[in-house]
């Protein structure tokens, strides 16, 4: 299937000579949730802003729905809704007015019923007559989302949508984003919360210093790069790992009260059976056993360190 967003060989150098994007190529598939992960200053916002028309592209090309973002800007931009990173909005307008304004700006005839639907889905309906400046930060963030959804876009960009949003609201937003995806909207989000990418994304792209390091299905990424840890809590602490167990690559933790084995969960033979057999042979008594999958965050930090 043709990708809904196709970025090829995109580079961007800002006026001050800073090269924010280096030969970036990236395809986003229709209907997926794509999470763009990267440290501060990696170029996430620059990338999004180019696709949305806020920043002039340098070299390379960007196609949205098969149309070029420069030559066919009307087509591409009306497909896109953008929730920017900064909370900037018209403080003196009412919620309803500012969301209706966005719909008009994107070329759609007014449709109060749709605006109502959007506001209700974001729990903003009660606030519709309030001036934007009287809202809390989290509500303002939701108003920005409502503005982006006002013209029924096929693609939604969320540039750090949950920055400064409390945990409960964050979960609500995730649910809303999933609901949108279920209606066929393609979602591209950037985030610093790896937890968010892990929870939400179908695919993950990692960007660092203006380069895309990796693009992968989240599940594949977790499986291939994800190490699993087996943590064995001992009844009696050990002073050292017995020599007969060294082949298992164990580490001692918690002042000898815990044996930790790191293994590849996707391997055919994980060696766990042999490990337990050897433990029994040594007469080491086990109090408890726990396994832990490494998080996307650990994978991410690992990847960045590898390149550093």
């Amino acid at each position: 299937m043709q990708p809904i967003i196709s970025i090829s060989n995109l580079s961007k150098t800002y006026a001050n000579g800073f090269e924010a994007l280096k030969n970036v190529s990236l395809d986003v598939r229709k209907g997926e949730i794509f999470a763009l992960l990267g440290p501060n200053g990696a170029g996430k916002t620059t990338l999004i802003n180019i696709v949305c028309g806020l920043v002039n592209p340098g070299t390379g090309s960007v196609r949205v729905g098969g149309h070029d973002i420069v030559a066919d800007y009307r087509k591409t931009r009306s497909m896109i809704g953008l929730v920017p990173q900064e909370l900037s909005m018209d403080a003196f307008e009412t919620v309803f007015a500012t969301v209706s304004f966005s719909r008009g700006l994107f070329g759609k005839p007014s449709d109060p019923a749709h605006i109502e639907k959007v506001l209700r889905s974001l729990s903003l309906w009660d606030k519709r007559k309030d001036k934007v400046m009287t809202l809390s930060g989290g509500m303002k963030r939701r108003v920005l989302i409502a503005k982006a959804l006002a013209h029924e876009p096929e693609i939604l960009f969320l540039d750090e949508p949950t920055a400064g949003v409390d945990v409960e609201l964050r979960r609500e937003m995730w649910a809303m984003v999933r609901g949108l995806r279920d209606t066929g909207v393609t979602i591209i989000l950037t985030t610093h919360y790896i937890e968010e990418a892990q929870e939400m994304a179908d695919r993950v792209g990692i960007i660092s210093k203006g380069e895309i390091i990796l693009v992968e299905d989240k599940d594949v990424l977790m499986r291939t790069l994800g190490k699993k840890q087996l943590r064995i809590e001992l009844r009696e602490p050990l002073a050292a790992v017995p020599t007969s167990l060294t082949s298992h690559g164990l580490d001692l933790a918690e002042s000898g009260g815990m044996l930790v084995s790191t293994y590849d969960a996707s391997a055919d033979r994980t060696g766990i059976t042999a490990l337990f057999r050897d433990l029994a042979r040594e007469g080491i008594a086990i109090r408890d056993v726990e396994t832990r999958q490494s998080t996307l965050e650990e994978i991410f930090v690992g990847l960045l360190e590898e390149r550093a």
Partner: protein, 253 residues
């Protein structure tokens, strides 16, 4: 053509105008009234007729022009500068609207406000001096053309400015002097020959002159020259805005 967008921006800008209606309308009315008291009544009573009309009636077109120039510039420059300042411009830049549509909406709204206020000032003036308007349609034409040109000029300033001082400095340093020296309070015929020639380089002279012609049927320069110069100024501003948008000047990185 994204007519919904033009309408949305226009309505938004007009709503902003009506939110501040008191200060938008009251302040020009008061200042015009003051001008009439000082120049029309106090000083004007000692000045003979100019161009066959009383001094009070003579300055009406000039006063309206002066208000319109400053208002168009301040209103249009603020209209586009404010979204840049607060960051809400992101929405405009990401929307499927052409440069021309953006300009049409912002400048159209600013010009509408100017024309409205021009008419209010005209009505205020009618309370102080007996008004005659020889060519009402030409008067309206000049009112609209001037409002449009200077709103466009203001729009350019609003994009060029990167601080509130810059927003104020052009109206203060350039437009006010040009307006005062543009024959608002006198006929440039009254000037010594050298200054008369210098005045002909002042675009405001043509605006005031043409506008005055529509009132009293007499003017410093031919009404066609006035009209021509106004249109030239309008086209010049259009060209500059076109260039600004094409290059993303101060709008896009």
């Amino acid at each position: 053509m994204n007519i919904h967008a033009v309408r949305a921006i226009y309505r938004f800008e007009m709503a902003r105008t009506f939110r501040t209606i008191l200060q938008s309308i009251v302040s020009p009315v008061i200042s015009t009234a003051l001008y009439f008291v000082v120049f029309g009544a106090a000083i004007g009573s000692r000045i003979p007729e100019i161009g066959g009309v009383s001094y009070g009636a003579f300055i009406v077109p000039g006063l309206i022009m002066m208000s319109i120039l400053t208002l168009s510039i301040s209103n249009a420059s603020f209209g586009i500068y404010f979204p840049r300042f607060t960051g809400t411009i992101y929405e405009l830049l990401s929307a499927p609207v052409s440069h021309l549509e953006i300009v049409a909406a912002y400048v159209g709204a600013a010009a509408t406000k100017s024309v409205m206020i021009g008419l209010v000032i005209l009505a205020t003036a009618a309370l102080f001096v007996p008004l005659q308007i020889e060519h009402p349609l030409v008067m309206l034409l000049f009112l609209v053309l001037t409002s449009l040109s200077f709103s466009l000029f203001g729009f350019i300033i609003g994009i060029w400015a990167d601080g509130f001082e810059k927003l104020q400095i052009i109206p203060l340093l350039v437009v006010m002097p040009l307006a005062f020296l543009g024959g608002t309070f006198y006929s440039i015929e009254m000037l010594p020959p050298f200054w008369h020639v210098v005045s002909l380089f002042n675009p405001v002279v043509y605006l005031v002159s043409g506008f005055r012609w529509s009132f009293i049927g007499a003017a410093d320069v031919s009404v066609w020259t006035s009209l021509g110069m106004t249109v030239v100024f309008l086209l010049g501003c259009l060209a500059v805005t076109g260039w600004m948008f094409r290059t993303g000047y101060k709008l896009k990185n």
